[in-house]
């Protein structure tokens, strides 16, 4: 029997534990490793995320394709010099997400969360919660366990890659994981975390995967950035006591159905969407003129 969000929430309530704690215990049971070892492995991932943000912020170069790069630094300066409209929590998260996704595009070291293409969102919200709300590393690490529990349900009941289910499966899953995680880290109940997850996912249903020239840059970097603000909005709603009228597992099932019905041209093949705009096609032509050499 595959775990569902509903079954996880029920077990958390029965055992009076958080979603993160539930996932950590589950990993101890399935792997046979000690709690300390598993916690340490997850914390190592948090450290890699934070380093990727630092690297990305100080790097103003463009990528080899010249389709992205340098924007995290621009965003960071804007945050320093003005009071950004979206406030410190969201603007820090946006900047950190951008730094990570830009690092990723430049072959920097990142943590796939759940994929490399969506690797900016969770680090973005983690760094922002630490900088703006003083959440410490150990608590953030527990947050990563919560995120992995949510992602694990998405992965087993729907998809987590653009090639399989469109961008809704990649940016959508990552944003939904982040929304639930923020809710839990802000003392929301497991049930509230499930609602935040559902609300974030609902707002990204149907999003297609259409990377220009097949590269994880356009529109990917900015979708990571905006994913953070959707995650915070969904978490705020859930913490206010607002519920998703469609239960989380039904939303995940819907993502699966939509992804299955999505044409192949909109699943990472660069044969549709933004990749096929005049500008997108021009970029692809500039980058890849490669006849068979065999």
């Amino acid at each position: 029997m595959k775990d569902t969000i509903e079954s996880i929430v029920q077990e958390c309530m029965a055992q009076d534990v958080s979603i993160g704690e539930w996932m950590l215990r589950r990993e101890v049971d399935r792997s046979g490793s000690s709690r300390e070892q598993i916690f340490g492995r997850m914390q190592e991932r948090l450290h890699v995320m934070k380093q990727a943000v630092r690297d990305g912020l100080s790097d103003i170069t463009e990528t080899e394709s010249r389709l992205s790069g340098g924007d995290a630094c621009r965003m960071h300066q804007y945050n320093q010099n003005t009071a950004p409209l979206s406030g410190p929590v969201i603007s820090t998260a946006m900047t950190a997400a951008m730094a990570t996704s830009e690092s990723n595009a430049k072959m920097g070291l990142i943590v796939a969360t759940p994929t490399a293409g969506s690797a900016g969102i969770l680090p973005g919200v983690m760094v922002s919660l630490q900088d703006n709300r003083g959440v410490d590393d150990d608590t953030l690490t527990m947050g990563l366990f919560a995120a992995s529990a949510i992602g694990y349900v998405f992965a087993n009941h729907a998809f987590i890659s653009g090639a399989a289910g469109g961008c809704q499966a990649e940016i959508g899953s990552a944003t939904a994981m982040a929304a639930g995680t923020i809710t839990e880290l802000q003392q929301g109940t497991p049930e509230q975390a499930a609602h935040a997850t559902a609300m974030a996912m609902k707002s990204l249903l149907g999003l297609v995967c259409d990377p220009v020239a097949g590269l994880v840059e356009v529109p990917c970097v900015k979708r990571n950035v905006i994913g953070t603000s959707i995650a915070f909005s969904a978490a705020d709603m859930a913490l206010a006591g607002i519920t998703s009228r469609i239960p989380c597992d039904e939303v995940i099932q819907t993502m699966h159905t939509i992804g299955r019905d999505m044409p192949g041209s909109l699943k990472e093949t660069a044969e549709g969407g933004l990749a096929q705009t005049p500008t997108g096609k021009e970029a692809a032509r500039r980058l890849y003129q490669r006849p068979c050499t065999l």
Binding site: E64, M107, V111, A112, Y152, S161, V216, L287, Y288, C292
Partner: protein, 165 residues
Amino acid sequence: MEFDSCFDIIGPIMVGPSSSHTAGVVSIGKFVHDWLGEVADVTITFYGSLASTYQGHGSDKAILGGLLGLSAHDINVRSAYALAKDKGLRYDFQFCTDIPGGCHPNTVHLQASSSTENVHASGASIGGGVAYIYKINGHHTSINLGTGAEISSIAARTKKEAPFR
């Protein structure tokens, strides 16, 4: 169940930008490195999506890095060309944007040799950092190189199996 561990979701730690076009490709190269012990000479053929997008995804650096013995989480993959020069690795790239019949879009063929032996291996990087080797020296096989895989012991074990001895 395909995804079971929390580290299947939060992970792998890898050099970007793509788990399927970068991380998994390193593992295919590393398998061949570990099979031979050391690679002196190699012809690399990228097919399909790898042939058309290898530059933007750094798949060329990824395969060279793997052939030099690096792992997908080793930042030195970025400097694979310089490393290959240092170590005197002779390499030649071939590209074919067609996908060989029945193969995955991210397929790579490697013809590699050390000072004492040769190996001809075909692999595919199927997403999420997972790769598999489906042919070695003309024999069909199915070796999964998962994200946490101990590639050196997998290579050593496979080499002792029947058709490859």
